[in-house]
């Protein structure tokens, strides 16, 4: 179990806010911290991990937690 530093709840946000908000959030966080992102938008479930990786961050897990709901854990580089 990883200790998460912060949670960003993007459920109910429309395209592209989940992506934009998680990108902005990740940029503000410090190295080694873990961000939990909650989303309910399928395209972002695939796009956010990709964006996080290209920012150099480590995607610890992408877990489907319910009908159209995902939890992404990202470790900031």
């Amino acid at each position: 179990m990883v200790d998460k530093t912060d949670t960003l709840d993007c459920r109910g946000e429309v395209c592209p806010y989940p992506d934009v908000k998680s990108k902005r959030k990740a940029k503000k966080m410090n190295s080694g911290e873990v961000l939990e992102i909650l989303i309910d938008y399928p395209l972002s479930a695939e796009r956010i991990p990709e964006t996080m990786k290209s920012m150099g961050n480590e995607v610890l897990s992408t877990e489907k937690v319910g009908a159209s709901e995902w939890k992404i854990l990202v470790k900031i580089k």
């Binding site: 459920r11 109910g12 946000e13 429309v14 395209c15 592209p16 992506d19 934009v20 990108k23 902005r24 309910d40 399928p42 395209l43 695939e46 796009r47 990709e50 964006t51 290209s54 489907k64 009908a67 159209s68 709901e69």
Partner: protein, 354 residues
């Protein structure tokens, strides 16, 4: 006149269901495709759009030479193409989805997209038959340029079908080499299998599709759609706007001839996306978190409706179907749809960095 069930209703509905299924699996939305180029530097959907256009172009060219279809590019009217395209581009950013994206997301249970769709259908209907028609008609009539015989301007004139064939083949080859082959080679270097067909069911029905798979599927579907649509008396490949205008006209006037092939196609898209989302467990009835978002999506949808009718096509009619036909009007509309999308996306998401 009764609706022809076997030529109009069933083929339109079935192709729509397949289209909706592919759109949902591929998350194929041109708003995301264009916007993400500048916003997230993410090109997968843009590549998918490009390849779908190329596959359609090759397919339409072959079918045209085979005498199966008659090419029917859209007319050029620069004022209408520019104004309509730009407003459509602005609208889709606000609506959080293009015409096809908004339609398939209704099937995923996104009520914000349903509101955007109502705005879209209304805006399009008022522009096609109602109070806003004079604006669209003014632009279309006063800036229209055609060939001497009245046919639509295409990039290569009489040689357009040959060039469709050449660009289609060359384009697909370039995409295959520079994008697909390089991806496969990178996989090989990591010692992963190039084509992993294990868990096929899982990949086909539960996960999002690879961009190239989505693109090829849409390109092939577009060819069947052209044949089916022409047989129903609408000589054009895929489209969205006319479908929603048709429903609006039917409910407003009760005239059942309004229920053409395209109306069944758009209903099919919603059903197909719903089936796909249910199988993948991605269906959920949901509303946007903020009430303001719903209002913005409605305004965006209405702008898209006005823009699509003015520009004589939405992103499907003008870009997915119009680019392969090399219609000058579609290319201009498409360029301004993309420009509008970039301008507003920049102002909303990138200009003010907080």
């Amino acid at each position: 006149m009764a609706i022809d069930i076997f030529v109009v209703l069933i083929p339109g509905l079935i192709l729509g269901i397949i289209f909706g299924f592919i759109l949902q699996r591929g998350r194929f939305c041109m708003n995301s495709a264009f916007r993400d180029i500048i916003l997230l530097k993410e090109y997968k959907l843009a590549k998918s759009v490009a390849l779908a256009i190329l596959v359609s172009m090759l397919g339409f060219a072959i079918m045209s030479f085979g005498g199966i279809i008659t090419l029917n590019p859209k007319q050029f009217a620069w004022g209408a193409n520019i104004v309509g395209g730009l407003i459509f581009g602005f609208g889709m950013v606000l609506a959080a989805g293009c015409a096809s994206g908004t339609t398939y997301r209704v099937g995923e249970g996104m009520m914000g997209s349903l509101v955007a769709l109502l705005g879209y259908a209304g805006g399009a209907y008022f522009t096609k038959f109602g109070a806003l028609n004079s604006i669209a008609k003014f632009l279309q009539d006063n800036t229209k340029i055609t060939n001497p015989d009245g046919s639509a301007l295409t990039v290569f004139g009489d040689l357009t079908p040959i060039f469709m064939l050449i660009i289609g083949i060359a384009g697909i080859a370039l995409v295959a080499y520079f994008w697909i082959w390089r991806e496969l080679r990178a996989k090989k270097r990591e010692n992963k299998p190039m084509f992993d067909l294990s868990d096929f069911g899982q990949k086909a029905f539960k996960k999002g599709w690879h961009w190239a798979v989505t693109a090829i599927a849409i390109g092939i579907l577009a060819c069947f759609a052209y044949i089916s649509s022409a047989a129903a008396g609408r000589n054009y490949p895929l489209g969205i706007t006319g479908g929603w205008v048709g429903w609006n006209k039917y409910w407003n006037t009760g005239v059942d001839t309004a229920l053409g092939w395209e109306t069944w196609l758009v209903i099919g898209i919603v059903i197909g996306a719903f089936i796909s989302a249910i199988i993948a467990k991605e269906f959920k009835l949901r509303t946007p978190k903020h009430a303001k978002t719903i209002l913005i999506q409605f305004i965006g949808g209405s702008a898209m409706g006005f823009g699509a009718v003015t520009a004589m096509g939405c992103n499907i009619g003008n870009i997915l179907s119009g680019f392969p036909l090399l219609s000058l009007g579609s290319l201009l509309s498409g360029a301004f749809i993309i420009l509008g999308c970039w301008l507003l996306a920049y102002l909303l998401f990138m200009w003010r960095k907080d």
